[in-house]
Amino acid sequence: MNAIAKAIDAINEAFGRVIAPLIAIITLIVLYDIASRFLFGRPSDWAFDVTKMLFGAHFMLMAAYGLKHHAHVEVDILKRLLSRKKQAMLEVIGYLIFFVPFIWMLITLGWSFFERAWSRGETTYGMVSIPVYPIKGVIVVAAILILLQAIAIVLRAIMQLREEASA
């Protein structure tokens, strides 16, 4: 179990490090858009759509990395009063009740959302046609990465419970 959790950690750690610099690219595109409008008098005809898409991809794909590093908002005032065993149980229950339905919805309905865009070759409708399916597919990819990280967290909680039981 520990090996699986470690492998998942490694995947998300690497992935997060690859995705994080996207924000620099977003910044550069917006600056390029401002500059081309004011210095060259010719606004870019793709920057608006590309910026928006990269923004959506950036925070969604960083979510699993954030989960690994406990970056997501949670209120632990009550949880911390409990024993480690009870905390681990609460963790497992929380993932079962709240996380499972949410991630199931993201993956299944996110997939059909992506599939509709993909099968029709949906594009943006500006001067340049940019395909929309990659950004819609991001929902599914992000959800799978988050699911993996959640599996790692739950595995560790189960290991904690076993340890306490055998001790």
Binding site: G16, R17, I19, A20, P21, I23, A24, I26, T27, V30, L31, D33, I34, F38, F48, T51, K52, F55, G56, H58, F59, M60, M62, A63, Y65, G66, A71, H72, V73, E74, V75, D76, I77, L78, K79, R80, Q87, L90, E91, I93, G94, Y95, I97, F98, F99, V100, P101, F102, I103, W104, M105, L106, L109, G110, S112, F113, I135, K136, V138, I139
Partner: protein, 444 residues
């Protein structure tokens, strides 16, 4: 299952509370309750709209691009080391003034408010640059956190503001009139926060300690002036650069945030360690903060979608209409409902859900629409601060150093929520605080 709207409302808010206090990540609690609520209420077939909401409201939303950019700007500014030294210099400058750093936070926040209207961004920015220096100099934890959160929320009230633009598109009041109407209330709140800081620090000197005389004496006036020039001018020029780009029409509010990143990066290259690896970790940290802010929005937009579809808002409007007490009773109740909803929902959800129901009621009562909309905008300031679901609390917790707990933040907001409610009372008795400026400028 098809639960009635009343029962569904209770179940969804109940589920939210349970999940929150179990310590499960908020984004998943919101999303999970949304999915379960969809099954229990309007039915499985509406689940697709959750994806529509997540994609359309959070991912495919150009104006939100300002969030990661302002966060990155704050990180670069931080890494340049300038901000800590700026607060150092400000502290020496205001050496004889108790609470000088807290006052600095209010002033910088009001300036920032004129550049951005995105609360997640403002709080994260101020949290990153101001909280550590204040704690370092022995400021009271609650006062420090409270002043950062409360002033950080002003961004959405002081124009330009995306909230006011959205409110205008859901009411018969124009953007210009709303901008003008919200300016005085926004500045009034800023002044009230500043006065509160000065008064509380006067009464309780240990809340915002003065600089010890010996320490102040170590630095000559000339040295202080050099410090000020070196460390106060750069961050100020950053804010003025962003503001300038906005007001001269070089960039839109969203684009101005990229200019902010650019200037902050230059400051990092001048004052920081200029290492590529530092840049890389800055982007990692900015990404973590961004995904923290945005995933809450993802969950919240899913939750609000189901709540709205399940008829939750109709439950609330029936309550208003059944209320005795005439016009004044109904107004108080409506604003109170906005306050209560603010404990659970974000402002977007509240505006979208409540305006279509409340504004017709307001219109039939013959109450000034501009006044009412701005009152709602001011009351919504509390929605970021009030537990359990004050997003300012979460955003600040996300960037706060260890030792600052969510309970500290719950305590921190109390006086500021009270100040906002006091401001509302003032504006109820003196409506010209809202209508005066639009009247003068636009003949409203």
């Amino acid at each position: 299952m098809n639960l009635s709207p009343e029962v569904l409302t209770l179940v969804m808010f109940g589920g939210l509370m349970v999940g929150l206090f179990m310590g499960h990540p908020l984004a998943f609690v919101l999303g999970g309750v949304a999915v379960i609520g969809a099954f229990l209420g309007p039915g499985e077939r509406i689940l697709g709209t959750l994806i529509n909401n997540i994609f359309g409201n959070a991912m495919d939303n150009y104006v939100l691009v300002a969030i990661p950019l302002f966060i990155l700007m704050a990180r670069f500014l931080n890494d340049s080391g300038v901000t800590e030294k700026m607060f150092d210099a400000m502290r020496l400058l205001l050496a004889n003034l108790r609470g000088g750093l807290a006052l600095t936070v209010v002033i910088v926040s009001v300036l920032l408010a004129a550049t951005t209207g995105i609360v997640g961004a403002s709080i994260a920015v101020m949290g990153m640059i101001a909280l550590v220096p204040m704690l370092k100099y022995g400021y009271n934890k609650e006062l420090s956190a409270g002043v950062i959160m409360a002033s950080g929320c002003l961004g959405i009230l002081i124009p330009p503001s995306i909230m006011l633009i959205l409110m205008a598109s859901y009411s018969p009041v124009s953007v210009g009139a709303l901008f003008a109407g919200a300016l005085i209330p926004g500045l009034l709140l800023g002044v009230m926060y500043a006065l509160y800081v000065l008064i509380i620090c006067y009464i309780k000197p240990h809340y915002g300690p003065k600089v010890p005389v010996e320490e102040r004496a170590e630095v000559s006036t000339k040295q202080l002036l050099i410090m000020l020039a070196k460390y106060v001018v750069p961050p100020m020029s950053l804010i003025l650069g962003v503001l300038g780009a906005l007001f001269t029409g070089i960039a839109t509010a969203t684009e101005a945030s990229a200019i902010g990143v650019f200037i902050a990066f230059i400051l990092f290259m001048i004052f920081g360690d200029r290492k590529i690896s530092t840049c890389f970790w800055t982007m990692i940290e900015a990404g973590k903060t961004t995904t923290m802010v945005m995933l809450v929005l993802v969950g919240a937009t899913a939750f609000t979608g189901v709540f709205s579809r399940g008829g939750g808002m109709t439950v609330i409007s029936d309550l208003v209409l059944a209320m005795p007490g005439g016009t004044i009773g109904a107004l108080i109740l409506m604003l109170f409902l906005v306050f209560i909803l603010g404990m659970f929902l974000d402002w977007t959800g509240i505006v979208l859900l409540s305006f279509p129901i409340m504004l017709p009621i307001v219109e039939t009562m013959g109450v000034d629409m501009l006044w009412f909309v701005v009152m709602v905008a001011v009351v919504l300031q509390t929605s970021f601060l009030t537990p359990p679901f004050g997003y300012a609390l979460f955003y600040l917790k996300g960037v706060a150093p260890p030792g600052v707990e969510i309970v500290d933040l719950y305590k921190a907001v109390v006086p500021f929520v009270a100040l906002i409610l006091l401001a509302c009372t003032l504006m109820a008795f003196f409506p010209w605080l809202i209508t005066g400026l639009p009247n003068m400028m636009l003949g409203y």
